[in-house]
């Protein structure tokens, strides 16, 4: 993996300008609005992205999620990193 798509424990993921998390009331779901793209996302992914505020680092985000869902941090981290790397590759998330 090259550095452009890497995420570390100290990374502070956030949505760049031009990417917005929005509750799509007409369809009863969460969406990530981006240039010429709309990503449908589930409630869990929306919760993760709400924590991606550029203040919290990945370690803090994982700790909060592990507490909230009472799940092992290692499992949470694996899922969160996979999701964030995917969004970063699509250029809708920055760290």
């Amino acid at each position: 993996m090259d550095e452009l798509t890497e995420i570390h424990a100290q990374s502070r993921p956030h949505l760049p300008r031009g990417v917005r998390l929005k509750r799509d009331e007409a369809r009863g779901r969460w969406t990530l609005l981006a240039p010429e793209r709309i990503f449908e996302i589930d409630d869990t992914a929306a919760t993760v992205l709400e924590l991606c505020d550029g203040e919290r680092d990945l370690a803090q985000i994982v700790a909060e999620l592990a507490a909230r869902y009472t799940a092992p941090p290692a499992v949470i981290e694996k899922d969160v990193v996979a999701m964030l790397v995917d969004l970063k590759t699509k250029r809708v998330l920055e760290t």
Binding site: R17, E36, T89
Partner: protein
Amino acid sequence: MTAHTPPPPAPPIGLLVELTHRCPLGCLYCSNPVALERPGNELDGETWKKVFSEAAALGALHVHLSGGEPTARRDIVDLTRHASQSGLYTNLITSGIGVNETLTGDLADAGLDHAQLSFQGADKETNDRLGHYKGSWERKRAFAAYVIKAALPLTINAVIHRSNIHQVAAFIDLAVELGARRLEVAHTQYYGWALANRAALMPPKSQVDESIAIVQAARERLKGELVIDLVVPDYYARYPKPCAGGWGRVAINVSPTGKALPCHAAESIPGLDFWNVRDHSLSDIWHSNSAFKAFRGTDWMPEPCRSCDRREIDWGGCRCQALALTGDARNTDPACYKSPHHERIAAMAMAESESGDGVLRWRSYKADKVEA
């Protein structure tokens, strides 16, 4: 016995507004109709604002502020602000001409989410010649810098045809150099002006294949740096594109004078009654206008679409292209290999790709403006 009533359609996702047909450029492939709307007939700002509010209430998520050149409207900042405040994701589709640093900053402050900037060529000479506007290269580059300075995401759009298809690699380099997050390599779609100039625009298939390979290699190389979207040319395709995401399924276009259209070329199909946003709400148009129902879903389809397992992927392809190339808007889009017209269309494209340019029709209000 009760009559069968189809369920109401899901709400549209995107609204594309052609705010004006005024444009400083004269591109041979412009997707606007050849009969351009005059400035005096354009909707006023209050009506456009009403349309944005109605679109958001209906469930649309994106609004594409397009034209012509949308910034030719003096109220572009005000319109952008209203669209943004309505909750729509606002996308400006621009030539970059006439947009200075102050206006770019004002648009960003008004809530603009994204700017898409066209380039006609990947170097000064090619760009200015194909855009039919001297000096546009420098102005476009300056606009790109204003967008980056305003911290807005930038997409570069390059419409590809025979005179610039050799520059696909250079367009990719240009997008990276300008700091774009996204590049559209969009092979020309043959409607409006592009249809009128098709013989001058059609590239040879060998170069099309080469351009696709260049994009695929660059996507891998630039992963995480630049997203590249590719629109492949219909005439050499095996399957048709799901035009506008399916007729009346995900998108509404509104013309400068307020006509609501299922796609930008829909007016080329005779016999459809398009309602105007001055007289009807977008919701009313989406749910009740017969023009939006005409090719919605799959019930209208003849064979080979009706029994095809791709009928809800391609949605029959493009109705305007079916009309333009086969004489009947209900036919399968001849871009599909199952169309009886498919071989003829591919052969015609190959023949045109080897022809001379012939008479060029540069986009302008004087439709008879031609150059040998």
